[in-house]
């Protein structure tokens, strides 16, 4: 009997020990929706014992957390910088890079707009307020209404960098809570323009415009002006949980989740 008790005690101990926490920190582009859904998928795939901590506070936070050991995986909407990688190395953490998806921000206008395309320069001038009326770029006369994400969104700043050369939005821009709200407002406003993730680019009442002649569709992610490759970073010798999660992300079920959330799996291109 003693041996049975010992066996069950051991099983209980393993059970406790197996309730491991996987800490993931970094980009809010990835951490807002994609990684939480990947985490749910991972748990549903038979890894119920893993508890996730996901802190989406910006790509910059990923690398100090990896270096300090407070995160096992880092999320980043850009490549790690040299000084960030060096900081990790001096702490004994050698990063392995996993490109997982392309994030594409599409420019949408009202479906009744006569405009059929924009240039990158025109997009920058519209979103910085230099172009104020559609007639300035061949559209029907009307004051342009700019819809953006709100300031607490990482995408708000990402768009500034990607499309606006780091300059400010005009004070008249209208700040929305998310992609869906932007698309809905643009659908209602014939003078509206906004940027949304690929998954929202076909919202009824709107149309996504080509930029510099490149259609905003998944196969064009590598050449579209407002697309970027996003990454997960893990130490070269990850924990068992981190390793299993990375393998899940790169598996077919993981890549399906990437697609469903509106990103383009890196492996697709």
């Amino acid at each position: 009997m003693k041996s049975i008790i010992t066996l069950f005690t051991a099983v209980a101990t393993i059970s406790v020990a197996s309730a491991q926490t996987l800490s993931i920190k970094g980009s809010d582009t990835l951490g807002a929706k994609l990684v939480p859904q990947l985490a749910e998928g991972f748990k549903a795939a038979g890894n119920k014992g893993v508890k996730f901590e996901i802190a989406a506070e910006g790509s910059t936070t990923a690398f100090p957390a990896l270096a300090n050991g407070t995160a096992q995986i880092g999320m980043s909407s850009r490549k790690v910088k040299d000084d960030e990688r060096t900081f990790c190395k001096t702490k004994g953490v050698y990063l392995k890079e996993h490109p997982i998806c392309h994030d594409m921000l599409c420019v949408i206008v009202n479906k009744n707009s006569p405009l059929a395309k924009l240039t990158k320069d025109q997009v920058a001038k519209i979103f910085t307020g230099q172009i104020k009326d559609w007639s300035e770029i061949g559209g029907a006369p009307g004051k342009i209404s700019i819809y953006t994400r709100n300031t607490s969104s990482g995408t708000y700043k990402d768009w500034q960098k990607l499309a606006m050369g780091g300059r400010d939005y005009p004070s008249t821009s209208l700040k929305m809570a998310g992609n869906e709200q932007i698309a809905q407002e643009v659908a209602k406003n014939k003078n509206g323009i906004g940027y949304v993730g690929l998954a929202y680019s076909k919202t009824s009442g709107t149309k996504a415009l080509p930029v510099d002649g490149v259609e905003p569709v998944a196969p064009n992610a590598k050449k579209y002006a407002f697309a970027r490759l996003c990454y997960l970073y893990a130490p070269d010798k990850p924990s068992a949980e981190a390793d299993a999660f990375m393998k899940y992300v790169e598996s077919a079920p993981g890549q399906d989740i990437v697609r469903k959330v509106g990103f383009i799996p890196a492996a697709d291109l």
């Binding site: 209980a12 926490t21 901590e53 989406a56 300090n68 040299d82 060096t86």
Partner: protein, 440 residues
């Protein structure tokens, strides 16, 4: 208690413990990720230090204010560095140490007799109106007696700084004063070089800190980088006037081959530098600033590569200078006669992290001159034994060192030994170095 009750209790207890463990703490569930507090201001002035560790928070106290959402000023941070080192060397029967270095006219930068203050600087950097940056770095007095007549002083000279328009990574434009970085060795800040001193080859070609305008960018078409600059050639304590001492122009183009060769980083650059007045030297005398002469080369080229993968790093440099022969204004009654032959330099610097935070570094350097006396023994330490006039035509050196990173490059200990030899001359010796470097 019946045995099966005990088993049941054990299972139930383990199950409860498991659940408790899994839900304890402050973790965020997968369904509700932490919202980004991107609008909050941080910094010492608002009483909010950042970082995961005590080290991070201590170092973040140099950031006085940081707020990306502030439309006027986004960052104001104090910067500084203090680099201390001590040496002992031997060449034949002659030995030398930090005390000898002090006695050779370097009294103001040696604490006591054994600690050389290699660099002591303070400054600031700032970002405002999203695309503008203003930064400055000053050399500061370390013993308080470097003012005129031995009086107390604080400021010694303006090292680097300027105003930069930086709308993107691809385009930056600056005006001010900077260390013109000819080779890869010079590009890496002294806070991050893995050897105590930069190579003799790169020091021979570098024109130092000059006043001018420059533009630079990276990430162009994915992996290209560039730098263009035009500077007044006069190396002075503050700013020189345009064209003072001629013009030094530099152009650099580079490409990161990382994705093609499967490395983390593999940046190859080609640099060209032209000097209209080689050998020029400002004639002023200032005990707190060395008005050194411009390199005696009309044109210089460098081909470099900086690669890294995991624990391994490697920097390779090939440099060539077209020597200048003629007269140079050095602020004296008569122009100086310069007769510098062409010079070839090569360095190879592999490094490897042998344990967590402990890095081993080796460097080989070779300099070859066309003339028998085309190279002088390096001035910093070797001349303490070799004398000022020791020359030759081939200089080789082997450096082997260890760096221990206490808090990354921000606080580290270094130790190394360098053996050097002047072919065509008589110098042959080694130098042991140890030191501490910190910056914020």
């Amino acid at each position: 208690m019946q045995p099966h009750h005990l088993v049941l209790c054990t299972i139930l207890t383990s199950s409860c413990l498991s659940t408790t463990t899994a839900s304890a703490g402050t973790e965020t569930t997968a369904d509700s990720p932490t919202e980004a507090p991107t609008s909050a201001a941080t910094g010492l002035l608002v009483g909010k230090l950042t970082g995961d560790t005590a080290w991070d928070r201590a170092w973040s106290s140099a950031i006085l204010y940081k707020n990306d959402d502030n439309p006027v000023i986004q960052l104001f941070q104090l910067t500084g560095r203090l680099q201390l080192q001590s040496i002992y060397g031997q060449a034949g029967d002659d030995s030398f140490n930090t005390s000898d270095f002090k006695d050779a006219g370097n009294d103001e930068i040696v604490w006591g007799n054994d600690i050389e203050v290699r660099r002591a600087r303070l400054g600031f950097k700032s970002k405002f109106y999203q695309n503008w940056k203003l930064d400055a770095s000053f050399n500061v007095d370390v013993d308080g007696h470097d003012g005129p007549g031995g009086d107390t002083t604080f400021y010694k000279s303006f090292q680097e700084g300027g105003l930069t328009y930086a709308p993107s990574d691809q385009f930056n434009f600056s005006i001010g004063k900077k260390q013109v970085r000819f080779s890869r060795d010079q590009e890496i800040s002294s806070t991050e070089i893995t050897t105590f001193e930069r190579s003799v080859a790169s020091n021979t070609f570098t024109p130092g800190e000059l006043t001018g305008v420059w533009s630079f960018g990276k990430g162009i078409a994915g992996a290209w980088l560039y730098e263009l600059g035009a500077y007044s050639n006069a190396r002075v304590a503050e700013f020189s006037t345009p064209g003072d001492g001629g013009i030094l122009a530099i152009g650099k183009i580079g490409y990161d081959l990382a994705e093609h060769v499967g490395l983390e980083s593999c940046v190859t650059t080609f640099t060209y530098m032209h000097n209209t007045e080689p050998g020029y030297q400002d004639g002023k005398i200032d005990p707190n600033f060395a008005f050194s002469a411009s390199p005696s080369f009309t044109d210089s080229i460098a081909l470099t590569n900086d690669s890294s993968q995991g624990r391994f790093g490697m920097i390779t440099e090939l440099m060539y200078g077209f020597g200048f022969t003629g007269e140079a204004d050095q602020g004296k009654a008569k122009p100086a006669q310069i007769a510098q032959s062409d010079l070839f330099g090569f360095t190879l610097t592999p490094s490897y992290f042998i344990a967590d935070g402990l890095q081993a570094v080796y460097r080989f350097q070779l300099i070859s001159a066309a003339d028998p006396d085309g190279i002088r023994v390096p001035s910093r330490y070797d001349r303490l034994a070799a004398g000022d006039d020791e020359r030759g035509n081939t200089y080789t050196a082997h450096y082997l060192g260890l760096n221990y990173y206490i808090y990354s490059h921000k606080l580290k200990l270094m130790a190394g030994v360098e053996y050097s030899q002047m072919g065509g001359g008589s110098y042959d010796g080694y130098t042991l170095l140890s030191g501490l470097r910190m910056n914020f």
